[in-house]
């Protein structure tokens, strides 16, 4: 990225070279800490610490390739590093000026030319706004944040704009909430500003409950000041002097990073009394969740901050009028906030020029499942699923058949290959029976059983239902029982109808978004994969070959007739003459799996 090259030329001209290492959770689990240590040690031994700058940055997005080290100038993208590779990079590249081809991310290397990290196809269709600093700056350094336009938005708001002008700018940008609902952000700010009562509060929803999504976490770990700055701007706009970030306790390093960042912002007068010498004061505090998905729902979140069980309240009144401790409260998602300072600084015209007519800007997704390149991506609204899955994600693992992509997590649904060319925005996804959600995107191939995936999500919601209202508490449990019956091969056609009816009933009669959306994974798989449900109940087969109760062992014609399987079968149900293909009597088979384990030619399979 040119940005980084500039930064490198201007700010760090002291150093000859720079190496960026991702220190985010994903890479730390593939041992990036050790890699950083190794590089620092090797530099120390070579007395080269003064010449080469080692920077620990946030997530590059391509987490699957971790640990990652990017060397500037040039943006050379070293990936999948193992013990010892750090020393080689120091010795051969940083000090020896030689690129180590075999450690370069394969796709970055074509015809002996090493492309910069941001020129590989994973990045070319992306556009970074919310994630612009992730993988670029050292998240511990407020100076680096400031060097890349940080706090210019707040400065402009405080010095050149009235609170109403700030809100108008956000309204005009067309920014919609990134936490799932897609509510227009500017309008929400207006409601909270206009509400009677004081004090008012600014909340950040960093609960990120969608299991299989971590884009908010990577913002908090990779660019924490962007959220802190935005909340301060929000405080100014709605006339609040205090804010809370509600973050899930499962994210310990994000908690740590936020704590130290809040402290540093206070030291520099960017939080606290008289910010930037004006008469506006704003302070922030962290509050930790404790593992309850429903606490991502805004009313439950407010209850939880108050120190109670996270049980949703009736709406209205909305938080804008009666939120935390009954006071007007603004609540937005992490990614929503990460757009704010840039909109204020660069203007709403810039923002609304990106995306589609009704959905402006970009959206961050966590790309996971059976896809080659897993990680975090940020694309302009309107990008097609095909571009995301094949261009950015590199296609399906093992070049298998694409089956569906699940968006919106436990509240969302799936989209099939017929809709791969749909431009992604709020309205299109809803029309397809799925939803934008917070941005989890799980790709599934033909080995994924859609009935079992529906069961998986239902199990999740049954677990997480707070139990306040009956349709959600009892209805989802009934749905789960039926799904369990179906995957066990004991379902009937009536069960499928019951699922549909129950699902529609729960949707309309539940109190909060959890219950209202809990049946979505079932209803959407029923819509697109009804045949798969029917195969389970009528033919007693699992077309994906996943549901164990419905599988059969069989022997293919590669069998050499060694009799090993027959000798190991506890119920003697394998027959065949020596040196001839053997056959399993599936009626008698007890599915112990012995035959598959002992076969020397891998001729035993499940179907």
């Amino acid at each position: 990225m040119a940005l980084r090259d500039n930064r490198f030329a201007n700010i760090n001209s002291l150093y000859n070279k720079q190496v960026l290492i991702c220190g985010d959770t994903g890479c730390r689990s593939s041992k990036s800490d050790e890699m950083e240590e190794e590089i620092r040690e090797a530099l120390k031994e070579a007395n080269a610490e003064e010449k080469i700058d080692v920077v620990r940055v946030g997530c590059f997005g391509l987490c699957e390739a971790g640990p990652i080290a990017v060397v500037y100038p040039g943006g050379k993208f070293y990936a999948y590093l193992k013990e010892g590779d750090g020393r080689r990079i120091v010795k051969e590249d940083l000090l020896g000026d030689k690129t180590i081809d075999e450690l370069i991310y394969p796709e970055s290397l074509s015809d002996d030319i090493v492309k910069s990290i941001y020129d590989v196809s994973f990045y070319t269709k992306q556009k970074k706004i919310a994630h612009k600093n992730c993988g670029v700056i050292n998240p511990d350094s407020i100076e680096e944040y400031i060097a890349l336009d940080g706090y210019l938005g707040l400065h402009k708001a405080l010095n050149e704009m009235s609170p109403q002008e700030v809100i108008d700018e956000i309204k005009e940008s067309g920014l919609r909430g990134r936490g799932g609902g897609g509510f227009p952000t500017g309008l929400k700010w207006q409601f909270t500003k206009d509400a009677e009562g004081s004090p008012k509060y600014v909340l950040c929803n960093a609960d990120e409950g969608d299991p299989g999504a971590f884009m908010d976490r990577s913002i908090l770990e990779g660019d924490p000041y962007s959220v802190i700055e935005a909340m301060t701007i929000a405080g100014y706009a709605i006339n609040a002097n205090y804010g809370f970030i509600y973050i899930r306790a499962e994210y310990p390093s994000a908690v740590e990073k936020l704590e130290s960042s809040i402290k540093k912002a206070k030291e520099l007068g960017l939080l606290g009394n008289n910010i930037m010498g004006t008469d506006f004061s704003f302070d922030l505090e962290l509050r930790l969740g404790a593992g309850a998905f429903v606490c991502g729902e805004e009313m439950a979140l407010i209850e939880s901050i108050e120190g109670k069980r996270g049980i949703p309240r009736n709406k209205p009144p909305f938080p804008a009028n009666e939120g935390l401790w009954g006071k007007p409260t603004l609540i937005n998602n992490v990614e929503t906030y990460a757009n704010i300072a840039q909109i204020i600084y660069k203007g709403s015209d810039w923002f609304s020029s990106i995306g589609t007519e009704k959905s402006h800007g970009t959206k961050v997704f966590t790309l996971g499942g059976n896809i080659k390149r897993t990680g975090i991506i940020e694309v302009p609204m309107g990008t097609t699923l095909r571009d995301i899955i094949y261009e950015i994600g590199g296609g399906i693992i093992g070049d298998k058949e694409f089956k569906a992509v699940q968006t919106g997590g436990p509240s969302g649904g799936c989209i099939t290959k017929d809709y791969l060319d749909t431009p992604i925005d709020y309205d299109n996804l809803t029309a397809l029976g799925s939803m934008m959600g917070s941005g989890g995107m799980i790709v599934m191939d033909d080995s994924t059983c859609m009935v079992d995936i529906a069961r998986f999500f239902l199990e999740f919601t049954v677990d997480e239902s707070c139990g306040k209202c009956t349709p959600c508490r009892e209805g989802t449990k009934r749905m789960l029982e039926i799904l369990e019956k179906i995957v066990a091969g004991k379902g009937t056609l009536e069960d499928i109808d019951t699922l549909e009816n129950l699902g529609n009933m729960i949707k309309i009669s539940s109190l909060c978004g959890l219950g209202q959306s809990a049946p979505n994974p079932v209803l959407s798989t029923l819509r697109y994969f009804r045949d798969e449900y029917e195969a389970h109940v009528v033919d007693k087969k699992c077309p994906a070959g996943h549901c164990k109760a419905l599988l059969e062992y069989y022997i293919d014609d590669t069998c050499i007739g060694c009799r090993k399987c027959a000798r190991n079968c506890p119920v003697n149900c394998i027959s065949g003459k020596p040196k001839e293909v053997h056959v399993i009597d599936t009626e008698a088979c007890i599915k112990c799996g012995n035959c598959m384990e002992v076969c020397p030619t891998n001729s035993v399979h499940l179907r």
């Binding site: 593939s30 391509l62 699957e64 976490r217 499962e250 996971g368 499942g369």
Partner: protein, 167 residues
């Protein structure tokens, strides 16, 4: 299994806990922070600890109990010395996390939410820990293991087993 709370062995921790409560209790909505602290100090939140909180904060014990049991991270039984979290988030699930979890349960002979009788291990099924790129993922005492195969589990568990339980 029942566990008794040992006041004597926990004397120092109790002192630290009580002064933490005294410091926090005037803040609005501080119960969650107090419970987090207790969970961290004692490894669980037995009724004895809830009583201390109730006495100091004047919050009725029924309400405290309600909050403790609502959140999955607060526990009424002690966690093992090594807490194992197998991620059952969607990204991990479609890549075979259920098999990993089943293998861990088999190896240890306990169920999700359980603790081994030697207090060495406990298992939790966690939701996404934000390392989906490496799915399936599990954590043991904060160390993260990614791209797991069921064959790897035994060796990983053994590396924690070999340290004797110090009590």
């Amino acid at each position: 299994m029942s566990f008794t709370f040992d006041y004597e062995a926990n004397a120092d921790r109790l002192e630290e806990f009580e002064s933490f409560i005294d410091k926090e209790k005037t803040k609005k909505g501080s119960l969650m922070a107090i419970l987090h602290k207790g969970q961290k100090l004692f490894g669980y939140l037995p009724i004895e600890i809830q009583e201390i909180i109730s006495k100091k904060t004047k919050i009725p014990i029924a309400e405290i109990y309600g909050v403790v049991t609502f959140y999955s991270q607060f526990s009424l039984v002690p966690k093992g010395k090594h807490e194992i979290g197998v991620c059952l988030g969607t990204a991990c699930y479609v890549r075979g996390a259920q098999d990993v979890l089943d293998e861990v349960k088999d190896q240890l002979g306990i169920d999700v939410g359980g603790t081994t009788s030697d207090l060495n291990f406990s298992i939790q099924a966690t939701r996404c820990i934000g390392a989906c790129g490496l799915a399936p993922v599990m954590t043991i005492s904060g160390d993260v293991y990614g791209k797991l195969k069921t064959e790897d589990i035994k060796e990983i568990l053994d590396s924690y087993r070999n340290e004797e339980v110090k009590k």
